[in-house]
């Protein structure tokens, strides 16, 4: 087993022309990337725009990625540079930036309202959060510990096995069952929530 093997498998597929594999990388890292960019900009919508730009830059630069570093390290570097450039560009021309925003206000507002700064969008985000938290609270202790150690502390399966004094295979099974339990409840919210979002659009 090698670290970053799953990302590398997806990256190799993208490099061979499989765009679908890039979707999986975006789905995996979009939240982390937005959180990272939020260190530079406060507006979530702007952070998403920058994250989007970073993903597209990464896609275009992917032929040059040789796997010397982990994919997410490489992606994060691109995102940080993109965020810094965006901030510098905005600071250098604040008037132009403001004018652009005001001149294109109707379009901009439509776009922002469609995204998720609408009350309904925020409610949906909150609903997702509360559903996941409730599902985690309802988990048996061993499953909850395993998933939290993995997601919050970032421990490897081997480290979790040592901490919980159980085989690595048991850790894998516990994390999987925890995810299954949370996903079962989350799916209902997502499906309902996305339906509502479409109605709003």
């Amino acid at each position: 087993m090698s670290a970053d093997a799953s990302d590398l498998s997806l990256v190799r597929r993208v490099q061979r022309g499989d765009k679908g594999a890039f979707d999986a990388l975006v789905l995996k890292y979009q939240h982390k990337l937005v959180k990272l960019v939020m260190r530079y900009v406060r507006n979530p919508a702007e952070a998403e725009d920058i994250a989007q730009e970073a993903f597209i830059k990464a896609y275009r630069a992917l032929p040059q990625f040789r796997g010397d570093s982990a994919f997410y390290t490489w992606l994060y570097r691109i995102a940080i540079n993109t965020a810094k450039n965006a901030v510098v560009s905005r600071d250098r021309s604040p008037i132009e930036y403001d004018l652009d925003r005001s001149s294109d206000e109707s379009y901009d507002m439509q776009g922002r309202m469609k995204d998720s700064e609408t009350p309904e969008g925020l409610v949906l985000t909150d609903e997702i959060r509360s559903t996941v938290n409730a599902a985690i609270d309802a988990l048996p202790e061993d499953l909850r510990t395993a998933i939290v150690l993995r997601e919050l502390e970032g421990l490897s399966y081997e480290e979790i096995a040592a901490a919980m004094d159980c085989p690595v295979g048991t850790v894998r099974s516990r994390i999987f069952r925890a995810r299954e339990a949370i996903d079962k409840r989350l799916r209902e919210v997502f499906e309902g929530g996305l339906g509502r979002a479409e109605e709003l659009g």
């Binding site: 087993m1 093997a5 979707d23 975006v26 979009q30 937005v34 979530p44 997702i128 979002a197």
Partner: protein
């Protein structure tokens, strides 16, 4: 949905799946929208546990990136080195190439010259027996000019013959005259294999 597949997906999400299984699952993941949606929800679970503030869990970011990537040309990794080569060679590359070629040529000359004394000594000890690579070596020694060895196959024959000749000279005092004659005959016929057999026979005879 297959439970084993879901278990693999969860392990792959954590970078804990063996490489070979990752390859197969990555292929399926890139095409299976249901699996991809589940993969995306795993990321949401992680974001909630980490309490990533400011992150909108229902943001359409992935969809927007997907739409933008669809408009992009598909990547082709094989084309990259070609583009890089066509993009322009660095100034030092031709110089380095020439220097390398000159270095290899110089090393070849030195090596060949170093080989000449080793091969001529035992061969001159057997006057009358034409050596295997005699024409090439004679020309190289005779007029002092450098001749590129054109037949690489001739080279291996020189080395074993030389070694065998040294062997004969070194053991001439203890070997029987008949065996020695057989061995020299093998040299004359340039049959390295036969010579080797003769040496083996001689060694066995001496042992008796």
């Amino acid at each position: 949905m297959n439970e084993e597949l879901d278990s693999q997906l969860s392990a792959m999400f954590d970078d804990e799946l063996p490489h070979e299984e990752c390859e197969l699952l990555a292929r399926r993941l890139s095409r299976d929208e249901v699996l991809k949606a589940r993969w995306g929800r795993y990321a949401v679970v992680g974001a909630v546990i980490r309490a990533e503030r400011g992150v909108r869990l229902n943001a359409p970011l992935a969809g927007r990136v997907n739409a933008a990537i669809r408009a992009e040309p598909a990547l082709d990794r094989e084309a990259v080195p070609v583009r890089a080569a066509a993009g322009g060679m660095r100034w030092w590359q031709p110089v380095a190439g020439g220097a390398l070629a000159a270095g290899v040529a110089a090393a070849s000359v030195l090596w060949l010259r170093a080989q000449v004394p080793l091969t001529t000594v035992p061969l001159t000890a057997q006057r009358g027996a034409p050596p295997v690579a005699a024409p090439v070596l004679a020309a190289a020694v005779g007029d002092g000019s450098y001749i590129t060895p054109r037949a690489p196959r001739a080279q291996p024959l020189v080395v074993p013959s030389t070694q065998l000749a040294n062997y004969v000279v070194a053991h001439s005092m203890v070997s029987s005259p008949v065996a020695r004659r057989n061995l020299l005959s093998a040299f004359i016929s340039s049959d390295a294999a036969g010579a080797a057999d003769a040496v083996k026979t001689q060694a066995q005879g001496n042992a008796k």
